[in-house]
Amino acid sequence: MADILTGAALFILAVTALGLFRVLRAEFAVERMMAVQLLGTGGAAALLLLGAASGTGAMTDVALLLMLFAAFSCAAFALGQASPSVEGAERREDGA
């Protein structure tokens, strides 16, 4: 059972990493914010699976914190994105 759960964690991490690199290469900066969200969900899922596989309950706490800070970073990114100076620069960047 432990091996299957670890395998599932590996699979989810692999899929997440694939998406992560796709998002990091995105042409629109907005999409990059999805990277953090993606890693938060995927990482939390992998951690929960690994915790169940190894029987360490404290792994859930790490997942909890990972999710919390993924949300926090997303918010911070959105703020930088919302300020007009950034949006102006953004358009220049995309137009290039």
């Binding site: 699979f11 993606l38 938060g40 899922a45 929960l48 169940a52 999710m67």
Partner: protein
């Protein structure tokens, strides 16, 4: 195999497949908003299924409660992050 383990296996597999679906959507869909849709729906549902699948493996009620907390936190952060990203996309399209 104990019924609890079979239950876990079923839900974890379903969750992993949903993560795969989310990433495929991210890689294949043409525009930001549909990619966002794929990501936020699939990953959160995937995490939810994995949490449900792992519940029978918990050895205490508190451990189970923490698992549910992780999922609730993911719901909250995903909902907000999607709104923030969509808002940024909308602003860039319409222009100030």
């Amino acid at each position: 195999m104990a019924p609890a383990d079979a239950f876990t296996l079923l839900f974890v597999t379903a969750g992993a497949i949903l993560f795969l679906a989310g990433t495929l959507g991210l890689l294949r869909f043409p525009d930001t908003l549909s990619r966002l849709h794929a990501l936020s729906k699939a990953d959160n549902l995937g995490l939810g299924l994995i949490v449900i699948g792992l519940l029978p493996q918990c050895d205490s009620v508190t451990a189970g409660l923490k698992l549910v907390c992780v999922w609730l936190l993911a719901q909250l952060s995903a909902a907000t992050a999607s709104q923030l990203i969509a808002g940024a996309v909308y602003r860039r399209k319409s222009g100030p």
